[in-house]
């Protein structure tokens, strides 16, 4: 008998290939030309537009939408990519409901913003589908730069540096570049290998070499890079994961949500990817939501996301929460894990309700248990393998201005650096700004 959502334990193939293909398809496909015109027509071309202010990369949104409205999406793409070289990925993954679209005047007026993210995708896809890379390199400067991490921060930095005429070598611990674009983002946000297509497109600028399988602190060292290159940019993200710190955390089938997601992103045939019948996810951010939703999509019978604080405190946006519940995920707020129960592998999980007390979060004494074949930890990532000699701040590499670290000629940006939200678009902005700062510094000499 083939597996079904009700098959006990952790098994593969709960749903057939056709059902999985349908469930993991593009959540918000590219607008067609007419839809784009209608959507673009709603933009008021605001002066000093609030959306532009809200975008971490400060894309000139009214201008690009007007360029779409007047039939020139390629020019619109150029406007976007000038500010944000990963504008294609950002159009797919930005939580626009808490960024540009949140402040759109039509959101204020009608509760229905201009669809900025989708219009951005329409423009960038149009240009990329035509195979056009609209940037070229300035005259060679003879300078060589090292970038650690081929995630959005590193790629954005590398592209801007290459554009200014520098030669860039990007080192990444993984064999495949992209960082969380490739290994983290929910599948239905980035279908058909978009992350790799975008990287191939980005590399058309020239002057960028990517070296995979090179871990800082192992194959390469910061001292070595500083000796060999004119400057170094660190965009290594957050490779470590926080543990639950409760009894039974080490039981079988209690794993990190990011690993599950990375496996899922790299699995060609999803019918071969096992998932529990009863899945419990601990956490309140995007990673928790993505792990929960994708477990449901794979065919888990029940998926419960448990967050220790109230709903208002969840890092995942209301849009993300609604997405999860619409896919059948149950969200429990104000409950913290007490222990993992099971003989070897997890069988149940026990929680205790919480409330906000005078001294912060406090337990109420009421407990409950959830059946669990599989538990995912999604309570935050942390910096791992930061080279010695760098000042840290709040567990991240301390930076001032455009990503300057405590070491001369070493910059950092993206998730691994202090300040800013942990978002793709923020990583792109920080990589770009660091590149400009590095360029200015190198050229002043």
């Amino acid at each position: 008998m083939p597996a079904s959502p009700r098959s006990p334990g952790i098994v593969a193939g709960r749903l057939d290939a056709a059902a999985l293909a349908e469930r993991f398809s593009d959540i918000s496909p590219k607008l067609d030309a007419h839809e784009a015109l209608v959507a673009a027509d709603r933009c008021y071309f605001c002066h000093d537009a609030p959306c532009m202010e809200a975008c971490p990369t400060s894309i000139d949104i009214p201008l690009f939408i007007r360029q779409i409205a007047t039939g020139t999406p390629e020019a619109a793409a150029r406007t976007i990519l000038d500010q944000n070289i990963l504008g294609g990925m950002c159009a797919r993954v930005c939580p626009t409901e808490t960024l540009c679209e949140e402040v759109c005047v039509r959101e204020t007026a009608e509760g229905k913003p201009v669809e900025i993210g989708r219009l951005q995708r329409y423009a960038t896809d149009t240009l990329m589908d035509a195979g056009v890379h609209p940037f070229s390199r300035a005259e060679a400067t003879g300078k060589r730069l090292a970038v650690v991490g081929a995630g959005p921060a590193g790629l954005s930095c590398a592209h801007r540096l290459a554009m200014h005429g520098h030669d860039v070598v990007v080192f990444d611990a993984r064999e495949k570049p992209g960082g969380l674009n490739e290994f983290g983002i929910a599948s239905y946000k980035s279908v058909d290998g978009f992350a790799q297509r975008e990287i191939d497109w980005l590399l058309q600028i020239g002057g960028i070499e990517i070296h995979g399988g090179q871990t800082l602190g192992d194959a390469i060292t910061l001292d070595g890079l500083m000796a060999e290159f004119d400057a170094v940019f660190l965009g290594m993200g957050l490779a470590g994961v926080n543990s639950l710190g409760v009894e039974g955390d080490d039981r079988g089938n209690v794993t990190d949500a990011v690993d599950f997601i990375a496996d899922l992103r790299q699995t060609e045939d999803l019918t071969g990817l096992p998932v529990g019948r009863h899945v419990v996810v601990i956490g309140g951010g995007m990673t928790a939501i993505d792990a929960a939703v994708q477990s449901r999509l794979l065919g888990a019978e029940s998926v419960t996301l448990v967050y220790r604080r109230s709903q208002e405190r969840m890092a995942a946006s209301v849009w993300e929460q609604d997405l999860a519940t619409s896919k059948g995920v149950t969200i429990i707020h104000n409950a913290m894990p007490l222990r993992v129960i099971g003989n070897g592998a997890v069988r149940e999980m026990e929680f205790e309700y919480t409330r906000d007390g005078a001294g912060g979060l406090e337990p109420t004494g009421e407990t409950f248990r959830l059946p669990a074949d599989q538990v995912f930890r999604a309570i935050g990532q942390k910096l791992e393998g930061a080279p010695d000699g760098l000042t840290l701040e709040g567990g991240k590499i301390a930076v001032t201005g455009a990503g300057r670290t405590s070491l001369a000629m070493v910059w950092a940006g993206g998730d691994c650096a202090s300040g800013g939200d942990d978002l793709t678009v923020t990583a792109v902005a920080e990589g770009r700004d660091a590149a400009e700062d590095i360029h200015a510094k190198l050229m002043e000499a």
Binding site: P62, R66, T70
Partner: protein
């Protein structure tokens, strides 16, 4: 990248987009920011003699909106600059000094006597401006004082004043025409006869935008009364395009440089003016509506279109559509087309049916299941169904092939060109040669 550089009667600018003489060009603060935003040139807000004019202190503008309050037409009762002459001249000089690559044209309007023009022209020349534009177009307020369109409506005056100016300055002289006349060719010919180096058109069109139905007064209303204003913005573009085309193809004025104005809002509008013979374009309402930044879309759009089509520079497009403007009588009456509805694209709204049924041709059938089909034996190929259909490309006009029989007339479609001048129904038909 296409080469957008423009040379218009010796006046150079990095692109053909100039701001028209109007409030956006009224002062240094504005013009500097306009240049920073990318405008290729400006025509400074019209200067007059001191004491400077005063404006009303109530509303100056009225508007017509489309769906979603998109501004389609703007009406104004503003006069020429209401700042002292000396202030404007000083600012013009300062801006031109700092932006030598941009076109700086100064619009002028002084009383209809040679002394006044003799007085002001050297003052403008001293600023280093590239050219002057004579404002014979303003249709409200100033015209009551014998200036603006009061001059522009009398070809003899146009010729006379233009001649005075040519005699009293070495700067190129552009004449800005009013559309408030019956035949634009006459004022254009007069300008040419007076020695004008170029014409600019159109200025605004006499208009009342709306009537307040509580006050029973025209809007904008000032203390219960309203005055006609000048209409501009997207709504006037078709009128302006026709006037530009008329001057471009009139044998008496053909070749006279034209600066096209009127409703230019996007790169496409500008390209159309240029195709009809405009060597530069001027924009007012779009900048007043959206701010100086619109020029960036105009530049990128024009560039993209020219690159896509392989047009290298302005010369490659300027005037290309002029030979294809024809009198009605020379249109080919042997060209026969039929409307065709693409059933795969049709959304069954029925708008084509209502339009055709009630506009006298009754050539669209409404079949069971809301399937709409053209009756070829009734269709006169008027194009109305195409114009009202909400789905672009759903209804197309398909030309018939010579040799086929038109089911409406029962006649075979002929392959040779034949027009009204030789048609048997024309009482004045000439025998075909």
């Amino acid at each position: 990248m296409a080469d957008l550089r423009t040379e218009f009667v010796g006046v150079k600018s990095p692109n053909p987009f100039w701001l028209a003489s109007a409030p956006p060009t009224d002062k240094e603060y504005n013009v500097r920011r306009a240049f920073e935003a990318g405008w290729g040139g400006v025509v400074w807000k019209t200067l007059g003699l001191d004491p400077h004019v005063v404006n009303v202190n109530g509303p100056r503008y009225g508007a017509v909106w489309g769906a979603d309050r998109r501004l389609l037409g703007l009406n104004n009762i503003e006069l020429i600059t209401d700042r002292p002459l000396e202030t404007n001249l000083r600012e013009i000089k300062a801006v031109k000094r700092d932006w030598p690559d941009r076109a700086m044209i100064v619009s002028l309007m002084v009383p209809c006597d040679e002394e006044s023009w003799k007085f002001i022209l050297p003052l403008v020349e001293e600023t280093g401006a590239d050219a002057v534009e004579l404002n014979f177009g303003c249709p409200h307020g100033m015209s009551e004082r014998g200036m603006g369109s009061a001059v522009g409506q009398v070809p003899e005056y146009i010729e006379m004043v233009t001649r005075w100016c040519k005699a009293n300055t070495r700067m190129p002289v552009f004449v800005k025409l009013t559309p408030n006349i019956t035949d634009i060719r006459h004022p254009a010919r007069a300008a040419k006869a007076g020695g004008a180096d170029a014409v600019s058109l159109i200025n605004t069109i006499n208009s009342i935008t709306s009537v307040n139905l509580d006050l029973f007064a025209p809007e904008p209303t000032i203390d219960g009364k309203g005055s006609h204003g000048g209409y501009c913005g997207p709504a006037v573009k078709p009128i302006a395009l026709n006037m530009v085309g008329e001057i471009a193809r009139d044998p008496e004025t053909a070749g006279l440089p034209i600066s096209g104005i009127g409703g230019i809002t996007t790169w496409r509008d500008a390209a159309e003016f240029i195709a009809l013979g405009a060597g530069s374009v001027q924009v007012c309402t779009a900048a007043m509506t959206y701010g100086f930044k619109v020029v960036q879309e105009m530049i990128s759009g024009l560039n993209q279109w020219m690159d896509d089509k392989g047009h290298a520079d302005m010369d490659a497009i300027c005037g290309r559509a002029v030979p294809n403007i024809s009198d009605w009588q020379y249109l080919n009456l042997n060209y026969v087309a039929k409307a065709k509805i693409n059933q795969d694209l049709c959304i069954s709204c029925g708008r084509c049916f209502a339009a055709c049924e009630d506009t006298s041709h009754q050539a669209i059938a409404m079949n069971p299941g809301r399937v709409f089909e053209v009756k070829d034996d009734e269709c006169v190929a008027c194009n109305l169904c195409v114009n009202v259909c909400p789905v672009e490309g759903c209804i197309t006009m398909e030309p018939m092939t010579p040799g086929e029989t038109d089911p409406r007339t029962g006649k075979v479609v002929e392959k040779d060109y034949a027009n009204w001048t030789t048609h048997p129904n024309n009482p004045m038909a000439k025998a075909a040669e």
